[in-house]
Amino acid sequence: MKQFLTLTGAIAALISSRAVIAEYGLNMTKGVSTISGDIYNLHMMVFWVCFVIGVVVFGAMFYSIITHRKSKGVKAANFHDSTTVELIWTGIPILILIAMAIPASKVLIEAEVLDKADMTVKVTGHQWKWQYDYPEEGIGFMSNLAQSSRDAINLDDKPENYLLEVDKRLVLPVDTKVRFLITANDVIHAWWVPAFAVKQDANPGFINDAWVEVTEEGTYRGQCAELCGKDHGFMPIVVDVVSKDAFAAWVAEQKAEKAEAAASATKTWSEDELVANGESIYNANCSGCHQKDGSGIPGAFPAMTDSTIANGPASDHLDIVINGKGGMPAFKMLGDADLASVITYERRAFGNNGTVVQPSDVTSAR
């Protein structure tokens, strides 16, 4: 009873507190791609057709409800069959449907068929983050929920783009046909940016494709659209669409960063450096399952504290992080220095007493 009262109290408190009000939308976005406007128009066309049918049918019903009532002394008619009427209201809907199917088929073929792309981005869904690779440019990175959103989950004061901000954004050039190759590493995800009118399932072991040509520079946000486990609601997508020049500059910058990271993987790091770097990588990549304090979730996700792996031989720890095991995904997409950092962090934090792992150990363990 007492628990029930507490719960009722909690719910009443929740109802009475109005936290945050932000601008809301009522309708589908028109979007900024060459296709999204057509899809919006199609949506509105079908909506209005339904609206008009609804007005006619419900109008007839309400007219009947208001006038054909016993309290007004109306005597019931007795008709109950009419082949003509049945044929009419079978035929007219068929014609309406055909009229809707023609533009729908056109837009569909336009949206699905791409002759030639100007560039390609590979999108890989992970529990619960996105990986973006530019195979032609030779760059790639992970994109996690921003720490600012993660920290604000239990705060009243939420940042402006709460749950719609990432630590590293996808960058695309404007007015360019971009082909997305979409896949997943563990379970099914779906990559969705409403403004692009692109939503495509990311299936593990298979590659789907989608494409977009964005016509306006800007920042566009989306989310994973297929239930993919615990943090399905916490793997947003943020895309910066920039001018072609700015994109070229960005690519050059990414290549320079990549070279720098490769250089740092060959030097020997101090334990403090590794732990400091590892903590942020752990929070972004591992804490979703194993929890920020390393306690895990019994029965589903093993704890880091008192772990036989974190306190055991480094080779086992390297193997499970690089190659995965069962529900634990492989993290081979992370760089050597980052992997060494996160493994060291796991072995030294949470009261563990495992050995330090250097980037060179990761290189040889791959």
Partner: protein
């Protein structure tokens, strides 16, 4: 003493057994119908409680009440309990109560099978619910349990979920066999197929859907079981399988399933509207043909749930056209209902209010269904709250509305007592307004881009989620009043006539209220059947 009761029991051979064992051992269609209905109602309250938890978490942005894993367990169990525990058993309960009375039979054709198919359910439900208390928690992969989230990445309790689904499937298949056997073999010899009331027709067709679809579901969960435990790789690409194949198999069951849940409701509505419009059902034959067409089409449209899985364009076009085609027979049904009330002489007792609002609200769900069938637009709608709004309009204000309408309509026949009409109307308006406050704003949420199955959301979705949650609490509370009205009717209701709705037609109204333990000892004659026909 014991001799006396033994004699009494012998004399009472054709009446119900005394004591609680009556309900365990019963083979009587009315007793079993009652068991089904109370079981379904308790599962409705439980599934509703899960929904209250979901709406409470979604009241404000942020995570206030639960962690995301538990939220996923709630959405999963809410869906499973409502579909397999509440809606389906409630319709089987209605079928048990009504079909023998409607076709002039003494009882169901296979009474012992009937007992078994009910008593499997509480155990299946208990197994399913027990997973909440297991290490790793209950299944958290959604009621559609897509692989590999439900295989490699699922908690250990998933094997219990699989076993529960198997048992629920057995129950449904046995129930369906029983209904087919009853309708085809036990109907009065003088009753022709095209004399049968629409509730009987819709259930007969639904039974064939059940027999076709449930074994496919059993196949899907069996493949999951072997993938999880015996090293097969049906749904695992690394072993040559395909996770999308799971979705094909699931939806080959899943799409007929949605019609399993709605066709009997169509039947119910087709009984109630003529009664309170005092006019025969319009287009009886076309209603039967439309139901059969919907059932047939339901088997060939399954992949419209999967437009974004990477289907070839030709496949998308085919499934779009086939899906749009369903609008035609469904439209025929709606038009026939409108024509039934047209120029009638209507009164608005509680069952009529539920039936009329069913027609309007179900049609709104049908419109959003048509919109979802348009593939390019579905790119934006898919897996958003637009879909959530759509299927709650067809399942809550469709299937559940049909069940509640049926309860009010036939309650006097079942209990021999009349429910409180004023309370019935208050309950209707309360539920009807609140259900729209819950689900209508979800259309806007979906169009504005809120994905389904998320425990927390960004700030632009806060307002409509708040409204939807408030409506949800009000709607949930309305079922307390519903329970009170039913219990009050059983305990304190005024005695009801054998034909409490003066204008009602149907063989069930020729029996006394409450209906005798064995419905028809002698089959009704041709003249009686025609006299009680809905469509003459």
């Amino acid at each position: 003493m014991s001799t006396i009761s033994a004699v009494a029991a012998h004399d009472d051979h054709h009446g119900p057994e005394k004591g609680l064992l009556r309900w365990v051992k019963t083979t009587n269609h009315k007793d079993i119908g009652t068991l089904y209905l109370w079981f379904a109602f308790s599962m409705l309250l439980l599934g509703g409680a899960f929904a209250m938890g979901i709406r409470a978490e979604l009241l404000h942005p942020g995570l206030q009440l639960m962690d995301p894993q538990f939220f996923n367990q709630l959405t999963t169990m809410h869906g499973l309990i409502m579909v397999f525990g509440a809606i389906m058993p409630a319709f089987v309960g209605l079928a048990n109560w009504l079909i023998p009375m409607m076709v002039g039979a003494p009882d169901m054709a296979l009474p012992r099978l009937n007992n078994w198919s009910f008593w499997v359910l509480p155990f299946a439900g208990a197994i399913l619910l027990s997973t909440f208390f297991m290490e790793g928690g209950a299944p958290a992969f959604g009621w559609t349990f897509y692989a590999p989230l439900s295989t490699t990445f699922a908690p250990d309790s998933t094997d219990f979920f699989i076993f529960a689904i198997h048992l629920l499937g057995f129950s449904s298949i046995m129930g369906a066999i029983n209904i087919i056997a009853t309708v085809l073999n036990m109907k009065a010899p003088e009753m022709r197929l095209m004399d049968m009331p629409l509730f009987v027709w819709t259930w007969l067709i639904t039974s064939f859907l059940l027999i076709g679809a449930m074994p496919v579901l059993a196949g899907a969960v069996t493949m999951m079981l072997t993938d999880r435990n015996f090293g097969t790789a049906f749904f695992d690409a690394t072993g040559g399988g395909d996770p999308v194949m799971f979705q094909h198999i699931f939806w080959f069951f899943g799409h007929p399933e949605v019609y399993i849940m709605i066709l009997p409701a169509f039947g119910v509505i087709s009984h109630i509207l003529p009664t309170f419009a005092r006019k025969p059902l319009f287009g009886y034959a076309s209603m039967v043909y439309a139901t059969a067409s919907i059932a047939f089409l339901s088997y060939i449209v399954w992949a419209h749930h999967m437009f974004l899985t990477g289907m070839p364009v030709a496949g998308e076009l085919y499934f779009m056209y086939a899906t749009m085609l369903i609008a035609v027979p469904t439209g025929v049904k709606v038009f026939n209902w409108v024509a039934t009330i047209w120029k009638g002489s209507m009164t608005f007792e509680t069952p009529m209010l539920w039936a009329l609002s069913f027609v309007i609200l179900f049609t709104i769900g049908g419109f959003s269904g048509l919109m979802l069938g348009i593939v390019p637009a579905d790119i934006q709608y898919h897996d958003t709250y637009f879909v959530v709004a759509h299927f709650h309009y067809v399942l809550v204000t469709g299937a559940l509305w049909g069940i509640i309408a049926a309860v009010f309509y036939w309650l006097p026949k079942w209990t021999g007592k009349m429910y409180n009409e004023t309370l019935g109307k208050i309950h209707f308006w309360w539920a009807m307004i609140s259900v729209n406050v819950v689900f209508f704003p979800q259309h806007f949420l979906g169009l504005a881009g809120m994905p389904r199955r998320i425990p927390d959301y960004s700030l632009q979705f806060a307002d409509f989620n708040y409204i939807s949650s408030i409506g949800g609490f009000a709607f949930g509370l309305s079922f307390v009043l519903f329970a009170y009205i039913v219990v009050d009717c059983i305990r304190n209701g005024k005695p009801a006539d054998s034909r409490p709705w003066y204008s009602a037609k149907g063989l069930e109204w020729t029996l006394s209220s409450p209906a005798p333990y064995h419905s028809f000892n002698t089959p009704p004659t041709r003249a009686e059947i025609l006299e009680e026909s809905q469509h003459s």
